[in-house]
Amino acid sequence: MKPRAAIPAALAPLLLGGCSYQHYQSIFGAAAVEDRQFLSLFWFFLGVCVLMYVLVIAFLVLGIARRGRTADANVVETGRHHTSDPAMRSTLIGWTALIGIGLAGLAIASFVTDRSMAEAATGEKLAVTITGNQWWWDIVYNSADASKTLRTANELHLPADVPTRIYLKSNDVIHSFWVPSLAGKQDLIPGRDNDITIVPKKVGIYRGQCAEFCGVQHAKMNLVVVVEPYPDFIKWWEHNLQPAPAPTTPLTLAGYNYVTTGPCSSCHNVGGTPASGQIAPDLTHLASRKSLAAGSMPMSKGNLYGWIGDPQSLKPGSKMPTIGLEPDQLHAVVAYLETLK
């Protein structure tokens, strides 16, 4: 009876939402081994749960339909034999056994999936350290060769088919690293070392998001993840190891001078320049990234103007202060930043 009324309302978003959407940030992305394993377990659980639900509702509907509303409905049935109806007692035992067996099946499936995820996580080839900050991600690609260690921010590049272990740390409060299309989440906790291993399978661009409430701009602590073929990834790494390109025009030179000597440099690092602040995202190849302000907006000239001119209105509470640049300073800074490919 009632479930039927609920189903059309329930199906509408399923159909509408499902069609219009590219799995950019959804658990149905299936872009890595971890999410694929999650999905097969999810469908199995969903199947068992739907079956159990149908059983309960059938029992309810039949129980109601069985007697109907008889005329002498007010007559009370009491007495011991009613509380110990033998047929119902054996049904009760069967019911308990059914729940027990169902749960055992689900628990075993869950355990096996957990183990196989742990196994897939062994033999990592690449190590990345991500440090959570209010409200951005600091990313370091580790390498035995110190000159190859790469620091960037808010955009994670992963090579396809390569198991990558991501070490998770936090500089302030608890955050949670979550890229739904790739894998489940793992917390970044101050004073503790966590890690997660991902084996990406599908080349593409995905979106991640902090999943533990971490303060006022928790909603805009996002992450772009680029999964690319291994050679492209190596090319990207090599390119990003280069220092920032030198300014070539008077306007970009003015911007360079402002960024490297002005207030920007006390927080931000621009590789190969005097700007060497460490407490804010690295800007060395800022313009080659796809987004600004931890995935808050796409990278574009307009958004650079907006973000640098008045960060507090685009991401209120962000640690990036509104400096109050003169218009010509702003032109110069944006022009310079745009060259940081």
Binding site: G17, L41, F42, V76, L103, V173, G184, I189, A211
Partner: protein, 668 residues
């Protein structure tokens, strides 16, 4: 070797002393003859008038504040909790407005974070738990066939502490210093370094208020249920709602100390610079989560188990037969209560604790569905074997089963570690716990309000309006919360004040917002129905539903003394089996407030216990304690200085009183 004790007891009193004792006994016997008692000589209207005079509270505003009548306190508890429901609901409507569209700028991030903190804290601490306690404080003594709760002054104190905690939180909201760290206030975000100002302290002290109130109510309920039952109401014959509240009260007593500890340590981190949660100083941020969820998970069952009690009560009455598997339901309640304490780590699957350990918590979390499944079976079997009728309370029971089972099954899903790592902290979980808390607790609560409304007020709620508001509530609930499963799977985390366009989140969020407003309208309709029926509802009479338990054996609303004579219970369903005339016990004093206490298991008459008179001291103590709690947000000295007024108030409260007539020996 001589037995010293035998010598002691065999010692003969001296001649003079013996005479003195005799004289004293004669004097007591004469006194006792003057005592008025109920019985063949004193019954009917004369008895009612006598009891009324003894039990009624002092007149006027002082009497109103000093009352220790469990019905008045229970009513205040329920009305206050409903007001907080409306406030918490209003917060959710504001949130839904903000989330109706992507990239909405209606509400600022800061304000939004306050809204969801206020919504969660209000619903959990100021609505859900207190409303269950309120219903219980009102109905349990009636259901058990007694005249008052145990410790009625503690009961009054509990209400005032709860009220003051709620007023402090909402006063802070009005003054724009409302907390903004979420209802579970994870450290270090809520610690001194990342939440300067007083917002987080307000949250932590609100917890202190409500935990004191809940502990007091739990003690009152435990003692009432164990010692104040009518003679003959053995534990095996006790109504299932009383069983549910007994389990819940004991759970409160075991779980609240954990949250008292963790919020106390948070306050001390913030106030005097201890570093319990500061990793930089060798504290541990995760300690908070362990302690909080050791309380926080049982808290969910503290809300849910009373609701299962409601469902059992309604099902039995409207299926016209005793509940199937009474003992099975009792065992299910107890085992749920025990299992609830072994699950807390399933809130922490993403924190990187050892994987093997997680497997145990997966198994433990899933196993809760066994007792819950058994309870559901017993309700369904009662319907199957009975002759169900479907007035409004029973509709809510059906709505409960249809809705709650979905929440229970998604609960099984999030109990599995690999699934939870994706689903944790997303809107899927938001959908899950609203299915469990609204479907599992609020639906039965609305049903039981409709069911007990005639007992509370003497009038019936309007049936047609009730049906309309049931269907609106049920359908709009599904419209609000079902799409949240979907937005969660599409990657929408909890507690985000906005989301970008293009992720597929627009449609489910818009549907949720529309549903939320219809749901709010349906709840308003329910309240309107209550208010209108209060004045114009059909007169109910003592037992309008033809129910079986003792609260229906007295008039509606019950007199201040509850029962003219204390009933004697001979079965699980006394009013159905007694054929109209309940056996009663007589001989209780009517010139003093007196309870008949019975033994814990067999409910054999045990003691006669004087009941304290109305008193302002619980209120004054609550005010003193409240001032200390609020002041200690600002200075640690408040605790040292505050001991004095609290001590004075409590001393006055517990000052020994003299009865008007000489007390008799109370052991029979």
């Amino acid at each position: 070797m001589t037995d010293v004790r035998a010598d002691f007891f065999d010692a003969k009193p001296s001649e003079g002393e013996h005479e003195r004792v005799e004289a004293e006994n004669r004097r007591l016997a004469a006194e006792r003859k003057k005592i008025a008692r109920d019985g063949p000589k004193l019954k009917g209207a004369k008895l009612a008038a006598r009891l009324e005079a003894t039990w009624r509270r002092p007149p006027g505003i002082i009497g109103w504040l000093a009352t220790v009548d469990h019905k008045e306190i229970g009513r205040r508890y329920m009305i206050t909790a409903l007001m907080f429901l409306v406030l918490g609901g209003a917060m959710s409507l504001l949130m839904r407005l903000q989330l109706a569209r992507p990239d909405s700028a209606l509400i600022s991030a800061e304000r939004y974070n306050q809204l969801f903190t206020m919504h969660g804290s209000t619903m959990m601490f100021l609505f859900a738990v207190p409303v269950m306690e309120g219903v219980a404080v009102y109905i349990i003594p009636l259901m058990l066939g007694t005249r008052s709760t145990a410790f009625p002054r503690l009961n009054a104190f509990s209400y005032y502490m709860y009220l003051f905690g709620g007023l402090m939180l909402w006063g802070a909201f009005v003054l724009n210093i409302a907390p903004d760290v979420g209802w579970f206030a994870y450290t270090p975000l809520s610690g001194p370094q990342f939440s300067p100002g007083k917002r987080a302290d307000i949250w932590a002290q609100m917890i202190t208020f409500t935990e004191v109130a809940a502990l007091a109510a739990a003690v009152v309920l435990t003692c009432t249920i164990l010692k104040c039952r009518a003679p003959g109401m053995t534990l095996a014959r006790m109504p299932l709602f009383a069983w549910a509240m007994l389990v819940v009260a004991i759970m409160i007593i075991f779980s609240m100390p954990a949250v008292a500890l963790c919020s106390g340590m948070l306050i001390s981190d913030r106030l005097v610079g201890t570093n319990f949660y500061n990793a930089a100083e060798h504290g541990d941020a995760l300690l908070w989560q362990h302690l909080f969820w050791f309380f926080g998970h049982p808290e969910v069952y503290i809300i849910f188990l009373p609701a299962t009690g409601f469902v059992s009560v309604i099902t039995e009455t409207f299926c016209r037969r005793p509940i199937f598997g009474h003992a099975v339901v009792v065992l299910a309640l107890i085992s749920t209560g025990i299992l609830a304490f072994g699950l807390w780590v399933h809130h922490m699957f993403a924190t990187g604790l050892p994987r093997v350990g997680y497997s145990f918590y997966t198994a433990a979390s899933m196993s809760v569905s066994i007792p819950t499944g058994l309870q559901i079976f017993c309700w369904l079997a009662t319907m199957w074997d009975g002759r169900p009728r479907f007035p409004v309370p029973m509709l809510y029971v059906v709505g409960f089963i249809v809705t709650f089972v979905i929440g229970g099954l998604t609960g099984v899903m999030v109990a599995a570690v690999p699934l939870d790592l994706q689903l944790h902290d997303t809107y899927f979980v938001v959908a899950h716990f609203h299915y469990v808390l609204i479907g599992g607790a609020v639906f039965p609560l609305l049903g039981i309000f409709t069911y007990w409304f005639p007992k509370f007020t003497g009038r019936m709620m309007n049936e047609a309006l009730g049906k309309v508001s049931f269907w609106l509530t049920f359908l709009s609930f599904q419209l609000t919360f079902f799409p949240m499963h979907w937005s969660g799977l599409l990657g929408m985390p909890r507690r985000v004040y906005t989301y970008p366009a293009g992720l597929g989140l627009e449609v489910p969020n818009l549907l949720s917002t529309i549903g939320a407003f219809v749901l709010a309208f349906a709840i308003v309709l329910f309240v309107v129905n209550g208010i209108v029926s209060l004045y114009r509802g059909a007169i109910a009479g003592p037992n309008p539903w033809g129910a079986a338990s003792l609260e229906w054996a007295t008039s509606s609303p019950p007199p201040v003394y509850n029962f003219e004579h204390i009933p004697v219970v001979e079965s699980n369903t006394p009013l159905w089996d007694s054929e109209g005339e309940l056996p009663v016990v007589t001989g209780l004093r009517v010139d003093e407030k007196e309870l008949l206490l019975t033994t814990v298991v067999a409910a054999a008459p045990d003691l006669r216990e004087p009941v304290p008179a109305a008193s302002l001291w619980p209120l004054i103590t609550a005010i003193a304690v409240g001032i200390v709690f609020v002041a200690s947000i600002f200075s640690p000295w408040a605790l040292a200085v505050g001991v004095v007024p609290c001590g004075i108030a409590a001393t006055a409260w517990f000052w020994p009183k003299e009865l008007k007539r000489h007390p008799e020996p109370v052991i029979s």
